[in-house]
C-alpha cells in the first residue's frame, strides 16, 4: 500500500484557552477526493490552514507525503484556494499568474500563465487589471492560480461559495481532471450536493472533533441530512 498523501496526527489548535481543534487524526490516501464537512465554526478552515502550512498546530503534526508541510519541496506539491481570491487588484491577470508561476519555480512562467488563462476562459482579458474584472472572472483567475502548478494535493476552502455558473463549471471540470490524474483533493464546504458528487471520502468535523471519516456512500447523496443525523450533534 502506498504512503498516505496526507497524515494528520493528533492535531490540537487553541485560540487562547479555546480548543478550535481537538485531537484530529486523519489519514488520506493518494487520489482521494475528501469532502470536509461541518457547520460554521466547526474548525474546517482552521484544519485546512494547518494542513496548508498557514498556521501551526498547538499540538500534533501534519505530514504531506511523509514530509513536513513547511518544507519548501512540500509546499510546491500543494495548491491552496482559500476564502479570498489571493490576487493583486493592481496587477493584470497575466502578471498575477506569472508572479505565482515564478514563486512556484515553473520553467516557463509566461507560457504557463497564458495556457491557464485560455483554459479558464480569460485569454481575451489577459492584460486587464484584476480590479476591473467581474466577480466571476476574478474567481476563475483564482482557480487558475491554485491549479496552475499542477499540485499533487489540492486544498480548497469553500470553493463553490459565491461562484457564478461559469466558474462552477470550470472548477468542476478542473476537479474532475485532477481526480483523473490521481491528485488528492480536500475541499471544505457547506454545499453538500456539489461536494458529495465529486467526493470519494467524507470527513465530518463537529465542534473541533472529527465525528466521522470514511468512504462516501450512495446513502449520503440520496439523503443529504443522513450524515449529520447519524454522526453529528443536533
Amino acid at each position: 500500500m502506498s504512503a498516505a498523501a496526507l497524515e494528520v496526527d493528533g492535531v490540537w489548535k487553541y485560540y487562547g484557552d479555546f480548543p478550535a481543534l481537538r485531537d484530529i487524526r486523519l489519514s488520506i490516501e493518494p487520489g482521494s477526493t475528501v469532502a470536509l464537512l461541518g457547520r460554521n465554526g466547526a474548525g474546517k478552515t482552521t484544519l485546512l490552514r494547518i494542513i496548508a502550512g498557514l498556521s501551526k498546530a498547538s499540538e500534533g503534526s501534519v505530514r504531506i507525503q511523509e514530509a513536513d508541510v513547511r518544507q519548501q519541496a512540500t509546499r510546491r506539491r500543494i495548491g491552496v484556494l482559500g476564502h479570498g481570491i489571493s490576487l493583486y487588484d493592481e496587477l493584470s491577470a497575466t502578471e498575477n499568474l506569472v508572479l505565482f508561476a515564478k514563486l512556484y519555480g515553473l520553467k516557463e512562467p509566461e507560457r504557463t500563465a497564458g495556457e491557464w488563462l485560455e483554459r479558464t476562459g480569460l485569454g481575451r482579458v489577459r492584460d486587464g487589471l484584476v480590479r476591473e474584472f467581474s466577480r466571476g472572472m476574478r474567481q476563475r483567475l483564482a482557480v487558475a492560480r491554485a491549479f496552475m502548478h499542477e499540485p499533487e494535493v489540492l486544498l480548497l476552502d469553500e470553493p463553490f461559495t459565491s461562484l457564478d455558473d461559469r466558474a462552477i463549471t470550470v472548477l468542476q471540470s478542473l476537479l474532475a481532471d485532477a481526480h483523473a490524474a490521481g491528485r488528492t483533493i480536500i475541499l471544505s464546504t457547506h454545499q453538500l450536493r456539489e461536494a458529495l458528487e465529486v467526493a470519494t471520502h467524507v470527513a465530518l468535523i463537529q465542534r473541533g472533533r472529527l465525528a466521522f471519516s470514511g468512504e462516501r456512500s450512495q446513502q449520503m447523496i440520496d439523503d443529504l441530512g443522513w450524515l449529520y443525523r447519524t454522526h453529528g450533534e443536533n
Binding site: R70, V80, Y88, L103
Partner: protein, 227 residues
C-alpha cells in the same frame, strides 16, 4: 541561494510595480515630507549656522515619519484578497518574501528621501556637494536599518486593527541607536566635517545595527508570518 534571490526579486518587483500603478505610498510620504520641510523653513532662518547643526535631526525626523507611511502599507497591501496566504503557502521561503518586501520598501524610501533632500537643499540653502557621497552612504545605511525593522513590524502588526498607530509606536524606540547615529553623522557632514576619527564610531554603530537587525529579522520572520 539562487532560489532565495529569485523569489526576493520577484516579490520586490511585484511590490514596486503595484506602487508604480497606485503611487499610494509615494504620494503620501513625499507630500508629508514636503509639508514638514516647508513648515520648518518658516520656523527657522534658512541661512543660520544653527540650522546646519540641526539639519541631521530635521532630515531624519522627516525620513522616519515618511518611512512609517511607506512601511505601514507594506504588508497591509497583502491583506487585500488574502494575498498573504498565497505568498506564505507558496514554496518561496518566508525570509525571501520578507527580503523582497524590504528591498522594495528600501528603494521606494530612498526615492522619497532623495526627493526630500533636494527640496531641503533648495529651501535651506544647503551646500554639501563636497560631502555628497558620505551623505549618500549614511542615507543608505540609515534607511536600510529603518526599512528592515519597519518591514518586520509591518508583518507583526498587519492583523492589528490599530496597526497605523502601533507600527511607529513599536518601531521608533528600537530605531533610537540608528537614528542617533544617522542624525549625528548627517549634521557633521552638512556642517562640512568629513568622516574621520571623531565620527567613524557612529558609522560603525549604524552598520552594526543594520547587520544585527537584518539577521534577526530573517531568522524570526517565519515565526511572525506562520506562528
Amino acid at each position: 541561494m539562487s532560489s532565495f534571490l529569485r523569489a526576493s526579486y520577484t516579490i520586490a518587483a511585484k511590490d514596486l510595480r503595484s506602487e508604480m500603478r497606485t503611487k499610494e505610498a509615494f504620494n503620501a510620504s513625499f507630500s508629508f515630507s514636503l509639508v514638514i520641510l516647508v513648515l520648518f523653513s518658516f520656523a527657522f532662518d534658512p541661512s543660520s549656522e544653527e540650522l546646519r547643526t540641526i539639519s541631521g535631526g530635521l532630515l531624519w525626523l522627516v525620513f522616519s515619519f515618511a518611512g512609517a507611511l511607506v512601511l505601514n502599507r507594506s504588508f497591509a497591501r497583502e491583506l487585500q484578497n488574502d494575498c498573504l496566504d498565497a505568498l506564505v503557502s507558496s514554496p518561496a521561503p518566508t525570509s525571501a518574501i520578507f527580503f523582497g518586501k524590504t528591498l522594495a520598501n528600501f528603494l521606494l524610501l530612498m526615492i522619497v528621501e532623495i526627493a526630500a533632500l533636494a527640496v531641503f537643499a533648495v529651501l535651506y540653502d544647503t551646500h554639501f556637494s563636497k560631502q555628497f557621497w558620505p551623505v549618500v552612504l549614511v542615507m543608505l545605511l540609515g534607511t536600510w536599518g529603518m526599512t528592515v525593522i519597519g518591514t518586520m513590524f509591518s508583518a507583526l502588526t498587519v492583523n492589528l486593527r490599530m496597526r497605523e498607530m502601533m507600527l511607529p509606536t513599536l518601531v521608533y524606540p528600537l530605531l533610537i541607536p540608528a537614528l542617533m547615529a544617522a542624525m549625528t553623522l548627517t549634521s557633521d557632514l552638512m556642517s562640512g566635517t568629513p568622516l574621520g576619527k571623531d565620527n567613524l564610531i557612529w558609522l560603525r554603530v549604524l552598520a552594526g545595527f543594520d547587520f544585527i537587525y537584518t539577521v534577526l529579522a530573517v531568522v524570526f520572520i517565519d515565526i511572525v508570518l506562520v506562528g
